[in-house]
């Protein structure tokens, strides 16, 4: 603790020296020397953020101390901190499905008052350049269904480290056997099971399937393109309809034709098997691109091509990842806003993209430097156009439904539970949860 104090006073002198030389009163002067405590996930995008933070401190004199946690753990910590009178954190990165909880419990600052403040808001910020789907999915609350774009909504966070789903494939394997990159789900499923025949020992698609969040995530990934939804417009669970069964079947097929042990794969294992060359395709988030090109981790550098998430009855790639917001009980809200604005600005977004992060702006996806360094960026930008903000409901009780869906699907994958029966069970329990939470009050 003493060390921070010393650091703080050092920061003050440094800032003083800085302002003395520049002489011009800048927007950051009032806050130079402040130490912000921020909570970020242990995640490739935020690892890239860690690399650019020193740049922010150099530019503004604001110190940043980062508490990096695994993202499922982060939520637990935040739940505690946000409910205190005075929280530890000045800025948090939250998983998209935490949005519902935090906003509902009045724990995140509405950003309107910061963007209205001429001393804080940067006129060059160019909010229109932020990718719409992400903004509504991650930052917006109070619109249609409570979590979508809509006239009653407002902004509580800004997408940062947002992802969509994409299909990675092994160019060398596809060339060797003269295979076509799958464009539809039928092609994808057929090809996924053909690969193990063509290349003995190699799996078709690396998918996550581990019990809980992973299995649920993998299922939802297929649900949207196959035309399904978890709820209809009146909040009735329809996860057990035909599209739901089809999506579960698709997941099962992919896992069955996947690499060995696929049914217990978490995200890390799934990615690992692709990096290790054990699978021919990878269908999941865009966040992996940086690692696939890293020779320290990957054995498939330069062999991977990218394509859009295959189409079912419609295109619908996922929208996910993280947003950053200011806790209502933060101590240094204005400085936190400055950091948030800096990180998500055009320059910040480009910096983080070059450091291996996931950009959240259209301009960054089109940027020549970024594309030169990461040629896949253009395909990713294209995929964003079809990102589906409603692929998963973001409501406060989702955590519980998600866990149930995930464990039930894991049973389908490992214990050969009947799919229809399993999903009927999920729907029934989901209805009970929704009933208790009051979603049927108006019916």
């Amino acid at each position: 603790m003493k060390v921070t104090k010393i650091a703080r006073s050092l920061g003050v002198t440094a800032a003083f020296a800085l302002s003395a030389t520049t002489a011009l009163a800048g927007p950051y002067d009032d806050y130079a020397g402040t130490t912000l405590i921020v909570n970020f996930p242990a995640h490739p995008h935020y690892d890239a953020v860690m690399k650019i933070l020193p740049e922010f401190t150099k530019e503004t004199g604001i110190e940043v101390e980062v508490d990096q946690l695994p993202y499922l753990k982060m939520r637990e910590r935040q739940t505690l901190e946000l409910s205190q009178d005075e929280g530890e954190y000045d800025l948090i990165a939250y998983v998209v499905f935490s949005k519902a909880d935090y906003v509902y419990a009045d724990q995140l600052e509405n950003l309107a008052k910061y963007f209205m403040n001429p001393k804080l808001a940067d006129p060059a910020y160019d909010a229109d350049d932020l990718i719409d789907g992400y903004v509504y999915n991650i930052g917006f609350a109070g619109g249609n269904k409570g979590y979508l774009e809509g006239k009653t909504g407002s902004l509580f966070g800004i997408p940062y480290g947002s992802e969509t789903s994409i299909l990675g494939y092994r160019k060398d394997i596809f060339e060797k056997h003269g295979l076509e990159v799958p464009k539809t789900y039928d092609e994808l499923l057929e090809l996924a099971c053909k690969i193990p025949e063509l290349e003995p020992g190699m799996g078709g698609v690396a998918s996550r399937a581990a019990s809980g969040h992973h299995a649920s995530h993998a299922f939802l990934l297929h649900l949207a393109p196959l035309g399904g939804r978890v709820f209809d417009d009146a909040w009735n669970p329809i996860v057990n309809n035909e599209a739901g069964v089809q999506a579960a079947n698709a997941l099962k097929t992919l896992v069955d034709c996947g690499p060995e042990g696929a049914a217990s794969f978490g995200f890390g294992e799934a990615l690992g098997s692709f990096l290790n060359g054990d699978t021919a395709m990878f269908l999941d988030t865009t966040v992996v691109a940086g690692q696939i090109d890293d020779p320290k981790k990957s054995q498939v550098v330069g062999k991977v091509g990218w394509a859009m998430h295959p189409e079912g009855v419609r295109r619908g790639s996922q929208t996910g990842g993280f947003g950053i917001g200011i806790p209502a009980n933060a101590l240094n809200k204005e400085a936190a806003f400055l950091l948030m604005q800096w990180l998500t600005s055009r320059e910040g977004d480009k910096l983080v993209a070059l450091a291996g992060g996931n950009p959240s702006r259209f301009s960054t996806h089109d940027d020549a430097d970024v594309n030169a360094k990461f040629p896949h960026m253009a395909t990713f930008g294209e995929a964003l156009k079809y990102a589906d903000p409603d692929w998963r409901p973001i409501i406060p009780v989702w955590g519980k439904i998600n866990a149930d869906l995930g464990t039930t699907l894991s049973k389908v994958l490992t214990e050969d539970l009947d799919i229809q029966e399993a999903l009927d069970g999920v729907a029934e329990r989901t209805r009970a949860v929704m009933e208790e939470a009051g979603y049927y009050t108006w019916q």
């Binding site: 490739p44 860690m50 005075e86 890390g268 320290k296």
Partner: protein, 308 residues
């Protein structure tokens, strides 16, 4: 009893030793491999050993900056210091408080003795998972000092930080739980050692004019050293290894090594080499204890079980 052991006997012995030590040796070897080597599985022992994993793990305490990492994400050094503080302090306090209590139960008849003795025995079975919910609630919300109050205000001024001063997130908070968790076991195990101390020695000392505390510290304690050693090792083991309660109670400054290891098994990036290196670092102190004090450990274990 002293028949010549057959070769089969030695074969069995070696198999058992191999099975007991094999996984640990595997971890040790893998902690010196690059991830690429671990994953591709090229040759068990044929690889170029590297200390890169240890450098990554210990990057916050190294005096130089290893060039293979861009920024130091693992704060292993800090967590190691936390673990040491928490384990040592809680072991010492548990021992002192525990052997005093054991002495009281063995040597004195006092009101409430039976209740105390029985309660101590019963709470031994409480699993840490059961304590999770109440301890989380109490330590974060109830066991707090108002930040505007006298002592709370002083603490906030002296140490900084935000909000009310609560037990959660402090070393003291974690140490308190560990002492409470270990006390019943320590009292229980030390009782069987104190019983064996001859009363005549204590009485002789008392005749010489020693007070009860002098008798205890100067006569009894030196005689139960083996018991203390055993109890110390077991207490240290739990305090050093515990994950669940520490993870619920610690904040970013008081994380212990087990938390760090679990957190580092982050799903985005299974870095086996670094994980193995951190695991190895966590395992080293208990391994050293075992090698040097195996007799005390075994005495402690048998004393524990035989005196049900």
């Amino acid at each position: 009893m002293h028949d010549k052991p057959s070769p089969a006997f030695y074969a069995l012995l070696f198999t058992l030793i191999f099975m007991a030590v094999g996984p640990i040796a595997l971890m040790f070897i893998n902690s010196f491999k690059l991830d690429v080597d671990i994953v591709s599985g090229t040759g068990g022992l044929l690889f170029l050993p590297t200390i890169q994993n240890y450098e990554t793990a210990l990057c916050d305490v190294l005096w130089y900056e290893p060039d293979h990492i861009d920024f130091c994400s693992l704060k292993f050094g800090g967590a190691f210091v936390n673990s040491i503080i928490i384990a040592l302090v809680s072991t010492m306090l548990t021992l002192i408080i525990g052997c005093m209590a054991a002495y009281a139960l063995v040597r004195f008849r006092f009101m409430g003795r039976d209740v105390a003795s029985l309660t101590t025995l019963m709470v031994r079975m409480v699993p840490p998972a059961v304590l999770l919910v109440p301890v989380f609630g109490l330590w974060n919300n109830e066991f707090c000092l108002d930040k505007d109050g006298l002592i709370g205000g002083l603490i906030r001024d002296a140490f900084g930080g935000r909000g009310d001063v609560c037990l959660a997130g402090t070393h003291a908070g974690i140490i308190l739980v560990y002492i409470a968790m270990n006390l019943p076991f320590v009292i229980w195990i030390l009782q069987s050692f104190i019983v064996q101390v001859p009363r005549s020695l204590e009485e002789a000392a008392r005749v010489d004019g020693a007070g009860p505390f002098q008798v205890f510290f100067l006569v009894v304690l030196p005689l139960i050293k083996p018991g203390l050693a055993a109890a110390a090792i077991f207490t240290f083991r739990i305090a050093w290894n515990e994950y669940l309660l520490a993870s619920a109670l610690s904040d970013r400054n008081t994380k212990t090594v087990p938390i760090l290891i679990v957190n580092n098994m982050s799903e985005f990036n299974v870095e086996w080499g670094v994980i193995m290196a951190t695991g190895m670092l966590l395992a080293i102190p208990p391994i050293i204890f075992t090698l040097f004090a195996s007799r005390q450990i075994i005495t402690g274990m048998t004393a524990g079980a035989v005196k049900g």
